[in-house]
Each structure stands twice: as structure tokens, then as C-alpha cells.
């Protein structure tokens, strides 16, 4: 357990956190502003990855595929909003859960019909291929460094959007008290549509960025959706800052837990037991963390102030 290993694992943890943030940001806005539980957020991430595959096949270049897939992801998000979600805003949470779960099933099958069940991929762009030497014997893929940088960039952009612009102000106001914002003459439906489309695009962006390092396959968003929910619950629903910090926290806890839990268990237990206990504890860590947060601070670490 050397310091270099610890440093590399911290970097890995941050990078997982950034990926989670990109997904959780849209989810927390939609949930916080619109009080809308969108289980289909994970499949929008998947859709982004598949659109990247399709756009890459069409253009043969990652850099052309990126904006193309991003626009297509936005279009898909708006289409879903128009066809399905728009009709659910006034319904209760159970209806929303059922309908968006249906969207998950539908889209998971749809991508399989269109692209087949076998995992697909997008190659890492030439410019970002290869690895840089961080420490002796430790090469780190350039693409992952780029992913980290892009994620931080998006986070900064979001911060400016939410705190410094008029739309951002309305979004924050909507998160605190939507009926009051509507009463003040703001077209809340249009605001919802913007927030929703933007959230879908962010999830799609995460999918596009993940396509070169993860396998693109049906159901790839389902696991991440659960993690994204953990992130927004810990961060405080509706809070971008909370989502950012708790995504990093989750990324770090999960990664460091996975790499060191077995070693730590080995200090206390015989090796064979440690082999069983270590991985089990590692996969539970983030949920234990969530339970702790819910117990001590039920509205999350960085709750949005409500009236």
C-alpha cells in the first residue's frame, strides 16, 4: 500500500466521481426543480453512448461524433419529454416511477433491436490515445485525464449557469418553490422543458465520454442510475454543488474501498476470511455511507433551502 498507489487510486476515484456527477447533475435538477422521479435517466446515458457509436460509424471521427451525438441526445430527451414525461408532471410519484420504468424497459429493448445484443465500442480518439507516466511504473491513460478535465470544466460551466444567469436563477427558485415561481409569471412548463432537455443532454454527454472506456451494451445505465440516486440523496436533492461534492465522495469511497478493503480486512482476519469479507464490505461502503447521511442529515449534506 504505497503512497503512489494511494495517489493513483485517488485519481481513479475522482474520475469515477466526475462520471457520476455528469449523470447525477441532470437527475438532481429534474428531481429537485420539477419534483419528478425520472428512473429513465440511466437509459438516457445509455442512449448517449449508443448515439456516439452510431455517429462514429457515420463520420469515422470522434470529434465529429461528439457534437452530433450530443445534439441527438438532446433531441431524444426533448422527444421523450414531449411524448411521455410532460403528461406526468402533475401525477404522483408512483405514476412517474411506473411510467419511467416502462421507458427503461422499452429503450433497453429498442437499442437491442437496432444495434444488437453484443457489446459495442468507440475507439479512443487518436489525439488522446496512449498513456502518460505519472510515477515510476505507473502509466495513466491520457483519455482518463481528459475525462477528468472535461468533467471539471462541465462542473464549472454548470456552476456559472446556475448561479450567474437568469435561467439559473429561475431554476434555483423553482427548486425552492415552484408554485411561487409560476405565480410570478414565469412559464414554468418551458422552464421544465429546458431543465429536462439539459439534464438529458448531460446524461448523454456522460454516455458519449464513457463509450471509449466502457462497453456499450443494453442495460449499461441501470447500475449507474442507482449510484446516481445515491449521489443525489447524499448531496441533497436539487443541489448542483451537493451533487458535485457527493459524486466525488462516492467515487473516492468506492474506489479506495475496492482497492484497500481486502488488505485492511487481512490485518484483522485470516486470509481466506478476508478474501470473503473484503469485497463484501467494499461493495457495501457507499450504501453504509448513505444510510449514515440519511440518519444524521436526512435532507443531505448540502440541502437546498426551501421556504
Amino acid at each position: 500500500m504505497s503512497t503512489t498507489l494511494l495517489a493513483v487510486q485517488t485519481l481513479n476515484g475522482m474520475q469515477l466521481g466526475i462520471l457520476l456527477f455528469l449523470i447525477a447533475a441532470g437527475l438532481t435538477l429534474v428531481f429537485g426543480v420539477m419534483d419528478f422521479i425520472n428512473l429513465a435517466h440511466g437509459v438516457q446515458y445509455m442512449l448517449g453512448a449508443y448515439l456516439a457509436v452510431a455517429a462514429y460509424k457515420l463520420t469515422g471521427s470522434f470529434w465529429l461524433a461528439l457534437p452530433l451525438a450530443l445534439l441527438a441526445a438532446l433531441a431524444c430527451g426533448l422527444l421523450l419529454e414531449f411524448l411521455v414525461f410532460r403528461h406526468l408532471y402533475d401525477r404522483d410519484h408512483l405514476d412517474q416511477v411506473l411510467a419511467t420504468f416502462g421507458v427503461i424497459l422499452f429503450l433497453n429493448e429498442a437499442v437491442k433491436v437496432i444495434w444488437g445484443a453484443a457489446p459495442l465500442s468507440v475507439p479512443v480518439p487518436e489525439l488522446l490515445n496512449g498513456s502518460i507516466r505519472l510515477f515510476e511504473n505507473f502509466n495513466y491513460p491520457v483519455y482518463r485525464v481528459a475525462l477528468l478535465g472535461t468533467g471539471l470544466g462541465v462542473a464549472a460551466l454548470l456552476y456559472v449557469l446556475v448561479t450567474r444567469t437568469r435561467v439559473g436563477m429561475l431554476v434555483r427558485a423553482g427548486a425552492s418553490n415552484a408554485p411561487m415561481v409560476a405565480a410570478l409569471g414565469v412559464n414554468i412548463r418551458r422552464l421544465f422543458m429546458i431543465v429536462f432537455g439539459f439534464g438529458a443532454m448531460l446524461a448523454g454527454f456522460a454516455g458519449i465520454m464513457a463509450a471509449p472506456i466502457l462497453s456499450v451494451e443494453p442495460g449499461m445505465g441501470d447500475n449507474l442510475l442507482i449510484l446516481a440516486f445515491v449521489v443525489i440523496v447524499i448531496g441533497g436533492i436539487g443541489s448542483i454543488r451537493g451533487a458535485f461534492l457527493s459524486a466525488l465522495l462516492i467515487g473516492l469511497v468506492d474506489t479506495l474501498g475496492r482497492s484497500f478493503a481486502t488488505d485492511i480486512a487481512r490485518m484483522l482476519l485470516p486470509p481466506s476470511a478476508a478474501n470473503d469479507v473484503g469485497p463484501a464490505i467494499a461493495s457495501m461502503l457507499i450504501y453504509i455511507l448513505m444510510a449514515g447521511v440519511l440518519f444524521f442529515r436526512p435532507s443531505g449534506l448540502f440541502p437546498v433551502r426551501t421556504a
Binding site: S2, T4, L5, V8, Q9, N12, G13, Q15, L16, L19, E109, K112, G116, A117, A118, P119, L120, S121, P123, V124, S131, N137, F138, N139, Y140, P141, Y143, R144, P212, I213, L214, S215, V216, E217, P218, G219, M220, N223, L224, T255, L256, R258, S259, T262, N275, G278, P279, A280, A282, S283
Partner: protein
């Protein structure tokens, strides 16, 4: 009272429906085969390969396995043991299939195995081979055209020992098949295992594990990472710059089901298997050529096993027909067909005795395939046959 009445009504209608199905005339000279495979969810590609291989076998026989009009009922088990059980009972009782075949995953196999062999229906397993059914729970009605689950892992263990790898890291998902894989590997591996890493089933990002592997600097790694997990691992292993530094030995991770996604990143990685498209025998050359022509993609070992299952049925039914079950069982046991893997005969537990190879991912024209580079075991039977008391 009303409730009781309606319950009786429902019961009666179910009974009638059951009778209706039972009295439907069975075709006189037909062979009905129930084929169970996982065809939905992320691992659907394995089931698709296996099914396509089987159906190719049926097609090559002109739709008549053993000269009998063959009706194959393909059923998706959804990778849910309970759903699989319900569907199998439907096949056995409603459709009255003569033979059951297929099954990709061991948990599904464990759920459907008992009901099928207890109904004295002949069952040809085309992939899953968990240890209980190869050992104590073996049955004269069950034949496998694949392998016993431990064997491919044993191949890699033997190969690692032969290569003189003295220090290895082994990695598998944290569930039963993953633990079996590690146990199988260690059975024939004589060096030191520097670390056993168990990952979460369905894990996407392996950067933490890869950093640890780079830190430990083993002579090689062994991993069992089926499906999308394997695609992710292979991509990230290569991107982390480890591919050319630490040899990558694997099972069910680098094959024709994952190579379309990993492409160049997997080229040069090793796997253990009982079949590869380049095995030099006429049956295999024909199979690989026809499969590509029919389906437009390269077959994997799952496809080869499905194809051999169809060929086994073709040969045995051709010899003995289906009327006399005892004769058919002994015909099956003689394995009267040309296997695409060359040597093939049944062990005492009716799992194959066959050769196992070290395979390597290569680029062949536009497609990526595996290639057998070295025979690791010759006429190799599994470790459980000894505890099988056939009855």
C-alpha cells in the same frame, strides 16, 4: 362464498385448458426439441451464438435431424432461474418435447436440470456444466457438448505453470462462478498467487484493480470476466498500458462474442478453450464457413457447442430413432458425429473427454477471432467424473 366460487371457476378453466393442450394431436413422425437459451438482457449475445449454432446444425440436416422432421422451440430463459423453470415445465408438459437442449448459465442449469432429467427427457447441455451435475448429481439422460465449468480455468492454470509464471494475480467477479474459476485455476497452478481480487458482479470500471496489479508487478494475471465486464476490463487493461507488460490469461473473456467490441485492444490476449475457428479438421472448416455465410458474423465457442449439440442429436436419432429410449441413450453415448473440435467422446458422466487449447485473439482480415496456438491438455476429462454413479 363468492371468492370460493370464482376460485373453483378459475381452477376448472385451467383444468380445461390443460386438457385441451393434452389432447392436441402430436405429429406422427416429428422430432420436437425444446431449446433454452438466454436471449435477453446484457448476456443475450451468448445465447444468440449458441442458438444460431444449433439452428445451423438443423438447417444443414435439411430441417431433419436424424431424418425426422425437426421442430425446434426456442425459449428465452431471461437469465432468471424461476422464469426458466416455468418455461421448461411448459415445454415438457404442454409441448411434450422429445429432447431438451441449450442452457447458457449455470444458475439456470441448476434450476431446470432436476425437472428435466426426472421427467426422463433427454437433455443435451450446450454450455453450462456446473460441478454438481458432473459429479454426484449426474444422470443418464444428460449429455454435455461443452465442458465442465472448471476445465477452461484448469487449462490456464496448467499453461501458467508450464510457462514458469512464479507470481500471479487472479481476478474474478465475486459470485459462485467467479470463485469456481479461481479454484479451477489453482488446481493446476503451482506458483504463488500474489493476490486474489474479487470484484463486484457487473462492475464497469477496473481502474482501482488495475492500479493494484501494476503495483504488484506479477509475472502474469489470470481473470474470468464474462460479457460486458470483460469488454471493459480488456479496454482498460490495454489503455492503462499493461497489455504489453503483464501477460493476460483469461477464460470466457476474450472470444468472438466480445472481440467485436474490443477489437485491436484485445489482440494478443490469451484464453483457454476447447474450440477455436482455426482447429484443423474438415467438420470445423465447413462449420466456420457456413456459419459466417448464414449469419454474417464469426462463430464463438458457444456457437460451436450449439452446433455440436445438433450434430449429436442428428447422429444418434439417425441410428436409433426416438421410440426406443434405451437404444437412443446408448446411441447418444457413442457420440456418433464428427465434432468441430476433432477428438470427442463421452466420459463416464457423459461430459466430453476432449483436448483443450491455449487460444489467442488475432485479427483476421476485417474480423477479430481467436486462434488455437498450443494444445494444453490432450483427451482431458473433468475432476468430478469419479464421483458420478450413473443410474
Amino acid at each position: 362464498m363468492k371468492q370460493i366460487l370464482s376460485a373453483v371457476a378459475v381452477g376448472a378453466s385451467i383444468g380445461l385448458a390443460g386438457l385441451g393442450a393434452a389432447t392436441a394431436p402430436a405429429s406422427a413422425e416429428g422430432l420436437k426439441i425444446g431449446f433454452l437459451a438466454t436471449l435477453s438482457g446484457p448476456p443475450a449475445v451468448l445465447g444468440q451464438h449458441m442458438r444460431d449454432g444449433f439452428l445451423l446444425g438443423v438447417k444443414q440436416a435439411g430441417g431433419k435431424l436424424g431424418g425426422m422432421d425437426t421442430d425446434v422451440i426456442v425459449v428465452d430463459d431471461e437469465l432468471k432461474p424461476d422464469a426458466a423453470l416455468t418455461k421448461v415445465q411448459g415445454l415438457l408438459e404442454r409441448d411434450k418435447v422429445d429432447i431438451m437442449a441449450g442452457v447458457v448459465f449455470s444458475n439456470v442449469m441448476m434450476a431446470v436440470y432436476k425437472p428435466i432429467v426426472q421427467s426422463e427427457t433427454i437433455f443435451i447441455g450446450a454450455n453450462a456444466g456446473p460441478s454438481p451435475i458432473a459429479g454426484k448429481g449426474c444422470s443418464k439422460y444428460f449429455f454435455s457438448t461443452s465442458y465442465q465449468n472448471d476445465q477452461n480455468h484448469e487449462v490456464m492454470g496448467r499453461y501458467a505453470s508450464q510457462k514458469g509464471y512464479g507470481k500471479m494475480v487472479v481476478m474474478a467477479p465475486n459470485y459462485q462462478a467467479g470463485k469456481d474459476a479461481i479454484a479451477g485455476f489453482k488446481r493446476h497452478y503451482t506458483g504463488e498467487v500474489a493476490a486474489e481480487i474479487y470484484t463486484k458482479l457487473g462492475q464497469l470500471d477496473f481502474s482501482a484493480e488495475l492500479a493494484r496489479i501494476a503495483d504488484l508487478k506479477p509475472d502474469a494475471i489470470f481473470t474470468f470476466m464474462p460479457g460486458g465486464m470483460g469488454v471493459n476490463l480488456v479496454k482498460q487493461y490495454s489503455q492503462a498500458g499493461l497489455k504489453d507488460v503483464i501477460p493476460f490469461l483469461s477464460t470466457f473473456t476474450v472470444d468472438e462474442t466480445t472481440l467485436p467490441a474490443t477489437k485491436d485492444l484485445a489482440v494478443g490476449l490469451y484464453s483457454g478453450a476447447e474450440w477455436a475457428p482455426n482447429l484443423d479438421n474438415p467438420a470445423n472448416a465447413k462449420f466456420v464457413r457456413d456459419f459466417k455465410a448464414e449469419y454474417g458474423y464469426a462463430p464463438s465457442l458457444y456457437a460451436a457447442q450449439g452446433y455440436d449439440a445438433a450434430q449429436l442429436i442428428d447422429g444418434a436419432v439417425g441410428m436409433a430413432g426416438i421410440k426406443d429410449k434405451v437404444a437412443l441413450l446408448s446411441a447418444l453415448n457413442a457420440a456418433p458425429f464428427e465434432s468441430v473440435r476433432g477428438d470427442f467422446k463421452f466420459n463416464t458422466n457423459q461430459f466430453p473427454i476432449q483436448d483443450f487449447y491455449l487460444t489467442k485473439a488475432v485479427k483476421d482480415g476485417n474480423s477479430y477471432v481467436t486462434e488455437a496456438v498450443e494444445k494444453v491438455f490432450d483427451d482431458f476429462g473433468d475432476a468430478y467424473a469419479g464421483s458420478c454413479r450413473m443410474n
